[in-house]
């Protein structure tokens, strides 16, 4: 090969091992759900995301009536009004009932958080929001064009944000309600006060440049946390109301008066939930009265009886407990715009009920699986109404309900149980995006359980993710020691959202005179703080003296540095990153403070230890653990690969100067921008006629050392970056006066952030996605096999950060059969034992993904793992689809 004019191979995908030929290989294991759940699933596939005005209408109406009331009580009454008026909907065959709104995939806007995004584009208010840079992320986000997304307005339905359908007859009242919140929403008031932060204008430029993905205080103020179902399971709703009444008597008139308002708010809220549940019971009786089939009639009547019972009492059995858990999960989801509300270690929470029913013969294995499948459908039907930049650009339409299995008990023994084996089984038979599963790996877990986890992973849905219990506990013990966490309590942890290590507690559930210590979340939302900083874009700003080359706008003050050494580049990068975190920390703290003042959490606060004990809601640090604010980043591997390229090419080998590199970047190495071609992976880029002029420099950039190959040159840069970044985060204080920490998950941000970033010094082209996760190799650059990738990924201590995220794509034949399963498990263990925190898999033939892009209708049920979540292929934006296709496919392990 003539090295002066290398030919860049552009296969349709990258692979390690022998390129697959012949027929497209399907995933090995296929199971089917029970017939009732399959009918529900088929109905779900035909269902579109639907927004409703019901809840925000009644919320706003009550809110206005109570002007002058104590804020938290006013909010409770408004929420109660919303719940009381929700139209119930029970779909045929459901064994678990209730939903966020009256549609199967229903959600609703919450203008008290932010009203700007769904106002008509012609509206003056919306135009102002656009100019402030608060909607820049929306502009570079593409939604998936299939599945449940309502991508265009049609007939009497309007498309909102390219995803949600809204009835045309509801739009005028929605606009009317939205305008009532103008200058009163968390967004607006937060915006007013965040401008007091010195350097605020820089924040606006940072957002406009999409260096930061979105604000946190009003977009998704709760979530990325773990639910705690203890109080309803132990006391029932009336029991909790009784606690509130007693607490009011004990505290009324005494100092720390906010406590009585909190208890009053909880009491009011619970009344609202009781009305909501009763309405569903009434609906179940109506459905029974219309039913001619006797079995179906009995089911509806059983549902009504169960709901009536649960309006007052703790659960009597597993089915009751599951319904109550589901009801409270929804209740929290309806109090705020929330993604990442994880059920936690639900199999361990419900085990005492399940075991009792199994022992006394009132429940069978088959019925358990059917109920768990019903549960999977309910979680999958969840939708979250937020702006396009959030829903599409970050979440890819996902809601991130993470159910964890495994881990350790309070006493340090294996916490895996038979119910969790059935949770895995139902995850295979009813493969849906929610809840996603995470297996908390520990050496104490039985092999049979781990092999079941592998079997489930081979289904190809991307769950369970495999997560190191030891690394998580080390992180928690380091970061929560000042709040009193000990080893026993650290064992109660779980994953919030897609991958946020979250502190938990053991709560004493009493059943038949026996105390069972069940784990549950005891910390509030994480991934609040600083959201998703695009590291390659900050590096771009370094090369261009603080400018955003895409828009020509100045983001940072000129650094004036001649950048004559590698250390100049690295130090200037660190300075720009610090400036970014400086201003974003302060502005987001204000937003969260405003959220706590205007729109405090009531139901979630009631559930989280120790809010009910101490009489303080989450925003007053009622939780047991409060150090949850973090700094999220994206594109770390591209950053490090780029630094390695600059160090090697510019400063060591002197292959070219920085000026030459800048020119090549501006010319996109001779390729057409991905934004013009609509192809976002590196493997499908289109050359210009200018291409030859940049061949050599492009190859030199591509050939520079790349992360993921156990190459000390680049891995040492990675290690230095990780250690510096984690240490830097500790210098920043959250709203609650607690140091922040680093969080390294990309979710889907690597797509829109890549879209606004020029070509990078590592050879990546303009507009294409970054590497996903935080320790995933850039597609095609991991050439030395999985164990080399693991060595690179574990070159630093993962417990320094809240998480790390590694995605691998494996061809189905590489893990086929029992032999394949055992090799697969050994490979997973090898990585976690090396110190890796997390690993997750796509088991798929990439050619199937390419086929699915061409013929999406034939692949409605196809799911892939993106970064911490599983989503239906057809509902992913093309940027993410291209990125998943381009990931290196391992043909052998």
């Amino acid at each position: 090969m003539n090295t002066d004019q290398p030919i860049l191979d552009c296969p349709t995908f990258n692979y390690y091992g022998e390129k697959p030929e012949g027929d497209i290989k399907s995933r090995e294991i296929k199971k089917v759900p029970t017939s009732r759940v399959e009918k529900i699933r088929q109905l779900y596939f035909e269902t579109k995301s639907s927004a409703s005005v019901e809840f925000p209408y009644w919320y706003t109406r009550k809110w206005e009536e109570l002007e002058g009331e104590i804020q938290i009580v006013r909010r409770a009454e408004a929420l109660k009004s919303g719940f009381e008026h929700l139209t119930p909907a029970i779909f045929p065959g459901e064994l678990l009932v209730m939903g966020k709104a009256q549609y199967m995939r229903g959600s609703y806007p919450m203008p008290w958080l932010s009203e700007a995004f769904f106002m008509a584009k012609e509206d003056e208010i919306y135009k102002e929001a656009m100019e402030a840079g608060r909607t820049s992320a929306d502009e570079v986000t593409t939604m998936g064009q299939g599945g449940g997304n309502v991508t265009k307005s049609i007939g009497k339905v309007l498309s909102v944000a390219g995803k949600f359908g809204l009835r045309v007859e509801e739009m005028p009242v929605l606009l009317n309600i939205a305008k009532k919140w103008f200058n009163k929403s968390v967004d607006d008031i937060g915006h007013k006060y965040e401008q007091m932060v010195p350097g605020y204008k820089e924040k606006e430029e940072i957002m406009r440049a999409v260096i930061c993905m979105f604000d946190s205080g009003y977009t998704l103020p709760q979530g990325r946390e773990v639910m705690n179902y203890y109080y309803p399971l132990q006391y029932g709703i009336e029991g909790i109301k009784k606690i509130c009444s007693e607490k009011i008597e004990q505290t009324a008139g005494y100092p720390d008066m906010d406590r009585i308002y909190f208890y009053k708010a909880v009491f009011i809220m619970l009344e609202g939930l009781q009305s909501w549940i009763k309405n569903y019971a009434k609906e179940a009786r109506l459905m029974a009265s219309l039913e001619s089939n006797e079995d179906n009639k009995k089911e509806y009547l059983d549902t009504a009886e169960r709901l009536d019972w649960l309006t007052q009492n703790p659960p009597r059995n597993f089915h009751d407990a599951l319904q109550l858990v589901w009801t409270f999960h929804l209740a929290v989801l309806n109090e705020d715009a929330i993604s990442g509300l994880s059920p936690g270690r639900l199999g361990q929470v419900l085990y005492p009920f399940w075991k009792r029913d199994m022992d006394n013969g009132t429940l069978t294995r088959e019925k358990s699986i059917e109920l768990l499948e019903c549960m999977r459908m309910k979680f999958t039907e969840l939708d979250c109404f937020a702006s396009m930049g959030v829903v599409g650009g970050v979440l890819s339409g996902n809601t991130f309900n993470n159910l964890c299995i495994g881990g350790l008990t309070k006493d340090g023994e294996s916490a895996a149980n038979e119910l969790e084996m059935l949770i895995l089984e139902s995850g295979m038979s009813c493969d849906t995006p929610q809840p996603t599963l995470s297996l908390l790996f520990d050496e104490k877990l039985p092999e049979e359980f781990l092999l079941k986890g592998v079997e489930c992973t081979k289904i190809g849905t991307g769950y369970p993710a495999w997560i190191s219990n030891r690394v998580a506990m080390e992180f928690l013990l380091n970061n929560y020691k000042n709040e009193g966490i000990d080893v026993e309590e650290a064992r109660a942890w779980s994953i919030g959202g897609c991958l946020e290590t979250s502190a938990g507690s053991w709560m004493p559930l009493e059943l038949d005179g026996v105390t069972h210590f069940i784990p549950g979340g005891s910390a509030p939302a994480t991934s609040v703080g600083v959201h998703f900083i695009s590291l390659p874009k900050v590096l771009e700003a370094v090369l261009y003296d603080g400018l955003d080359k895409r828009t020509g706008r100045r983001v940072y003050p000129p650094h004036g540095n001649k950048l004559e050494t590698y250390d100049d580049i690295w130090n200037t990068f660190k300075n720009y990153l610090k400036m970014t975190v400086d201003v974003l920390t302060l502005t987001n703290n204000i937003q969260h403070d405003v959220w706590g003042k205007i729109s405090p959490s009531i139901i979630n606060s009631m559930l989280k230890p120790d809010c009910l004990e101490v009489g303080k809601d989450i925003s007053h640090q009622g939780c047991r653990y409060n150090r949850t604010f973090n700094v999220e980043i994206c594109g770390g591997v591209n950053l490090v690969n780029s630094l390695a390229s600059i160090k090697k090419n510019v400063f060591e080998k002197k292959n070219f100067t920085l000026d030459t590199l800048r020119q090549a970047i501006e010319e996109n190495f001779g390729y057409i921008s991905a934004l013009e071609t609509g192809a976002y992976s590196l493997t499908e880029q289109v050359k210009t006629t200018n291409y030859q002029n940049f061949l050599k420099i492009h190859k030199q950039c591509l050939d520079a050392p790349k992360f993921g190959n156990d190459d000390k040159y680049v891995d040492s840069i990675f290690k230095e970056w990780q250690e510096w970044f984690s240490s830097m985060c500790e210098n920043y204080m959250s709203l609650y006066g607690k140091p922040m920490y680093s969080c390294q998950i990309s979710v889907s941000t690597h797509a829109p952030m890549g879209a606004v970033t020029l070509a990078t010094p590592d050879g990546r082209l303009c507009g294409t996605t970054f590497a996903d996760g935080s320790v995933s190799a850039y597609p095609g650059s991991d050439k030395n096999g999985p164990y080399a990738l693991f060595s690179s990924a574990s070159c630093y201590n993962h417990a320094l950060s809240q998480n790390s995220q590694l995605n691998m794509k494996i061809h189905p034949t590489a893990v086929q059969g029992r032999e394949g399963a055992r090799k697969f498990l050994e490979m997973i263990k090898a990585y976690l034992r090396k110190g890796g925190f997390h690993i997750q898999f796509n088991i798929v033939d990439s050619r199937m993904l390419k086929e699915a892009q061409k013929n999406p209708a034939q692949y409605r049920n196809l799911m892939v793992r993106v970064a911490g979540f599983t989503q239906y292929w057809v509902e992913l934006g093309k940027q993410i689809q291209d990125e998943v296709v381009a990931r290196t496919e391992y043909e052998e392990i």
């Binding site: 005005v53 019901e54 139209t87 045929p92 995939r105 007939g155 007859e169 509801e170 309405n279 219309l290």
Partner: protein, 79 residues
Amino acid sequence: MNHIDCKYFLAVDVFKGLCKRTKESISADEAACADFDKTPKCKHCKDFLATAEYLGMCKNKAIAYPDMRAENCKDFSWN
């Protein structure tokens, strides 16, 4: 009257739903059948006054809209 106005309409999404009686799939905006039974909505309430297309007032105090479901409104009263 369309299916969406019937008390036996179970909305699945903004386009369509199921008939609670027959469990068949029906379009929200197609004409209802002979078993149609009006569902409580603001537009059927004696306290609702239309003020514009898709807008009105409830008891002269609060904005409302004609097609809002009212089964759970304790003040609903057929006009």
